[in-house]
Amino acid sequence: MIQLKNVTKTVRSGAEELTILNDVSFDIAAGQFVAVTGASGSGKSTLLGLIAGLDAPSSGVISVDGDEVTAMSEDGLARLRSEKIGFIFQSFHLIPSLTAYENILIPMEILGLDNVRERANGLIEQVDLTNRGHHYPAELSGGEQQRIAIARAFANSPKIMLADEPTGNLDSKNGQHIFDLMKDLHSRNNVTLVLVTHDAALAARAERRIVLADGEVIRDDLT
């Protein structure tokens, strides 16, 4: 489902060239639940961003569901994300001017799906926030915001779910709840789930664990 071949990402920091990812290669099969771990600055988030086409690698090739991400235009990438990828952020990134319910509607409306309201109602029910749909993000707790973000990420039934430390801003109880929700949705919808996390306990519950250090894969094993 996801292939990375010799992916390197360097950025310029002042006069220096900083290597964030160095010659990273791996495949992720369809339906797999992969946890990517590593210390701060090891390149985890960058890796996730490159897979989603949010940024381009300096060299190497990335393919997602047969599409070569590294060869696509901005709009092509947007279409790819719209159709195939769901993204969950550490700081939720809900659109502040829209209600929780409307945030869930957005991806479906971008794709031009029908019956979006019914589906949004179903999703909001799945994340157990039926009564909070008309609230704005600022009126929700962190846990609630993340649940809405998850519902939004699943709205278009993506084949791939990318989650960047989704529990990082939450207390352990809420974090656990979010993780369970994601795992549940993963197994029910059979999506490929790539989870970036600091939390070793959460990573241990994934099917496969990739460990990054200084931009390189130092461990890649099935749990």
Partner: protein, 842 residues
């Protein structure tokens, strides 16, 4: 599409408050354009849309002399050859004085007397105040129909008798509106009498400002007839006009006025556009994360831009609609303010076409000024959700941005050209605006730079306040530009007003007469002078005047039938009052040639010409000019060109002859007094003089000055009104700018509070910052106001200019206070925020 519409709707719902300033900027601009255009269009409708009704005929043949038998023969010959004449009448008009016959009633008014004959009017209708149609029988046997306002001014009623010159008329009716009577500036109100009575009453005998008209109604287009009449009358002073030409001239004049006024409105709208640009920029900045999320969720850049463009478009339309409402409000205010000086039947409603035009303009300006900021959306990358960094790619040349910039500029030019109705004027407008903007912006940059150079900033608050003016993303120069421009217009108008009022100040101008008597006959002058001396203690200055027209310049005739000459008719085709004397007046200087020496015997009559007339006629010393004086031609050599200081003039004669050639010509005398007599004594003196010398006309200069002052005041009110709109736009931009940098200020204040700054210190910073900003804006506005008023006074209006430190100083002070008030009021709540919440959310 559903995504675009839904998101647009939701975004408007959540951010309309933040875009309120956007909305108001557009509304104010559109309001100005629509109000100004509607005002002039409505005025046109009442005053000038029907030249035929104004002329009360299809065609007129007019002269300020009696028609000579040869002229009449020529006219009749041509008329007979055109079988399109349906009817004709003759009309005679002059200015005169009217006074009630009742000796107990000492009232006195300057009037415009019109002698008519049936059928009248040839075109249009004439109704009396009572609503009944005018009947010619009312005028028979010394009857008069007078403007209703005269019944109040003269304290008379229908049935009373009036004396005009030597004749008595009975008031038989009043009217509110006369045919053809609504246009032009007139000194007095109208009185209609029978033409026969006019001729018999001796009014025509002694007075020289008489216009005779023969009016024709035609069954067909009179263009050919006009041409034939002009050809036949070449070489005479008779003028031929058709209503069609008048219509064209009127139409052109009104259109030009409307377009110039619309440009003033456009100026406010463009300022609104600057506000829009500012708001749109901040809006995009605030929406960076949302845009990134949308892109991350799969929305392409163009779709996101479309969402925000639609949002701007919607707000532009609503703002424009609101502007139309504002315009209607403005027109109602204009009605309150100026109704007395505008035609009675004028409508104060916004016209449909102007409203539509305003809305289109509003939307165009919204789009033109928000296009560039919105384009920035393209460069927002979804990766900022992972790592918020500035886009390094921005530094490279962005062609799209440049192309859009050029397109916006071209669009703006197109709008200006459209509004000005002329490519040239549109370009001047935009060029002038750009130049003014650049100069103001440059001054703002210079002043803020100088302020920063002030090293002795010991006070913490003052230092912080100055630093705030340089905060990243600061709006200092934009605010100085916008507020400065508004205040600049207002201050300029104020200084101009002060100078104009000073110019017409009676007491300052020692040679300005208080009373002017004209049309005094030779036989009357001595008695009249004696009477004046008895009553005022002053011997009036007496000047002989001869009425003359220019016939030839260097032997070439002035062809009054030519269009260009006819257009300059007011300047050269008119009848001149000329005089003769030995010496130059105090206020005259010879600038070319030489003045005659006393006692020199003339071989040929000599004439001295006023500087402006000399340049209009292109004559100088050595040229010859031939004058027509009551049908007799006198040729004179131009011996000098004079400059007349009209500001200090007791009289201002365009042509002065050397004594010796005009003494035998038919002439009357003018007399002037300088002493200022109290108003009641002046009135009594005028009345007594008229009783003894009914043919004499008296001008009370105080009345004229009062009329001019009223005109100046109305003009000032109107310009100040527009100026205050410009200022208001400036303040809107200021408020908008405060909002833009507010989050930054909140953050700074939170940090300063955490570091121990007290609220008092923060408040001082706030006051100092806006105080400084206001002071700079005031200095710029006052500085340029003083400069512009000087330039306009000296070079355009050619009046004295005096520096008025009070207005200039008040300008700086008021601007500073207003800016401080608005700025502080818009940011005051910042002082009361708790730092913790702010720091946490960062």
């Amino acid at each position: 599409m559903r995504f675009i519409f839904n998101l647009t709707k939701r975004e408007i719902r959540s951010s309309w408050q933040r875009l309120l300033f956007f909305f108001l900027c557009i509304a104010l601009g559109v309001g100005s354009v629509v109000a100004l255009r509607s005002l002039i269009q409505n005025l046109t409708k009442v005053v000038g849309n029907d030249a035929r009704a104004l002329m009360t005929a299809d065609l007129e043949v007019t002269s300020t002399n009696d028609f000579s038998p040869s002229e009449i023969a020529k006219i009749e010959e041509v008329i007979a050859a055109f079988p399109i004449i349906e009817d004709r009448n003759e009309v005679i008009t002059t200015a005169s004085m009217a006074r009630p016959s009742d000796p107990a009633n000492t009232a006195l008014e300057f009037i415009e007397l019109k002698g008519i004959e049936p059928p009248f009017p040839l075109v249009g209708t004439f109704s009396l105040s009572s609503g009944e149609p005018f009947d010619f029988k009312l005028l028979e046997n010394s009857g008069a129909v007078i403007a209703r306002i005269l019944t109040e001014e003269l304290n008379v009623k229908v049935g009373d008798k009036l004396k005009i010159a030597e004749t008595e008329f009975q008031i038989r009716g009043t009217f509110d509106e006369e045919p053809g009577g609504t246009s032009g500036f007139r000194l007095g109100s109208r009185i209609f009498v029978e033409k026969k009575a006019f001729d018999q009453a001796g009014i025509t005998r002694n007075t020289s400002r008489i216009r005779r008209r023969i009016l024709y109604r035609t069954s067909d287009n009179p263009t050919e007839l006009v041409r034939a009449l002009r050809t036949a009358l070449t070489g005479t002073t008779v003028q031929v006009n058709s209503y069609r030409e008048q219509q064209e001239n009127l139409g052109e004049q009104f259109e030009r006025t409307e377009n110039y006024l619309a440009l003033t409105g456009l100026l406010i709208l463009v300022l609104g556009g600057v506000g829009v640009w500012n708001v749109a920029r901040a809006f995009v900045e605030q929406k960076r994360k949302t845009v990134a999320v949308l892109k991350c969720l799969g929305a392409g850049g163009n779709r996101v831009i479309t969402v925000y463009l639609l949002q701007i478009l919607t707000l532009g339309i609503i703002g424009s609609l609101f502007g139309v409402l504002l315009a209607q409000g403005g027109l109602l205010i204009a009605k309150q303010q100026f109704a007395a000086d505008l035609p009675e039947k004028m409508s104060y409603a916004v016209s449909f076409s102007t409203a539509i035009q305003g809305i289109i303009l509003g939307v165009l300006i919204s789009l033109l000024f928000s296009a560039l900021p919105l384009l920035q959306i393209r460069t927002i990358k979804p990766k900022l959700l992972l790592r918020d960094e500035n886009n390094a790619a921005l530094s490279r040349l962005d062609w799209t941005k440049w192309i859009f910039g050029a397109v916006s500029l071209a669009g703006l030019l197109a709008v200006a050209v459209w509004q000005a109705g002329s490519v040239r004027v549109g370009m001047y407008f935009l060029g002038g605006l750009a130049a003014t903007g650049l100069v103001l912006y440059g001054s703002a940059t210079l002043l803020t730079w100088l302020l920063r150079k002030v090293k002795v900033l010991t006070s913490f608050s003052f230092r912080q306040a100055v630093n705030s003016l340089y905060r990243p993303g600061n709006q200092t120069r934009i605010i100085l530009l916008a507020v400065g421009l508004g205040a600049f217009v207002v201050i300029t108008v104020q200084i101009m007003q002060a100078n104009l009022v000073r110019e017409f100040d009676f007491s300052r101008n020692r040679r300005l007469p208080s009373l002017v008597f004209v049309d005094i006959q030779r036989s009357q002058i001595e008695d009249l002078a004696r009477l004046i001396k008895e009553r005022t203690g002053e011997t009036p200055e007496q000047t002989p005047t001869v009425r003359a027209r220019i016939s030839f310049v260097n032997g070439e005739p002035i062809d009054y039938q030519q269009r260009e000459v006819r257009q300059q008719q007011g300047q050269i085709g008119r009848e001149f009052a000329i005089t003769y004397r030995e010496a130059l007046e105090e206020n005259e200087t010879v600038i070319d040639g030489s003045w005659w020496k006393p006692g020199e015997a003339p071989e040929l009559p000599e004439v001295s010409v006023d500087e402006r007339m000399a340049s209009t006629l292109k004559v100088g010393p050595g040229d010859s000019m031939t004058f027509d004086i009551s049908g007799r031609k006198i040729t004179a050599l131009v011996s000098s060109v004079r400059k007349i200081d009209v500001r200090n003039a007791r009289t201002a004669f365009v042509f002065v002859f050397k004594p010796g050639s005009l003494e035998k010509a038919p002439q009357s005398f003018a007399a002037t007094t300088l002493n200022h007599v109290p108003a009641t004594d002046r009135q009594r003196l005028q009345r007594d003089i008229l009783d003894r010398f009914p043919n004499v006309q008296i001008f009370d200069v105080a009345d004229i000055i009062a009329a001019v002052n009223r005109l100046v005041n109305n003009f000032v009110i109107a310009i100040s009104f527009v100026g205050s709109f410009v200022l208001l736009s400036g303040f809107l931009i200021l408020i908008g700018s405060v909002a833009l940098t507010k989050s930054q200020r909140i953050y700074e204040n939170a940090i300063l509070k955490t570091l121990g700054a007290r609220r008092r210190a923060l408040a001082t910073i706030l006051f100092t910052e806006y105080g400084l900003l206001g002071l700079l804006a005031g200095i710029i506005a006052s500085g340029f106001g003083v400069t512009l008023s000087y330039l306009v006074s000296r070079f355009l209006m050619k009046i004295d200019w005096v520096f008025d430190p009070v207005i200039a100083g008040l300008g700086v002070l008021v601007t500073a206070v207003l800016v401080t008030f608005v700025g502080v009021a818009a940011s005051f709540d910042v002082l009361f925020r708790k730092p913790l919440a702010t720091l946490r959310s960062q």
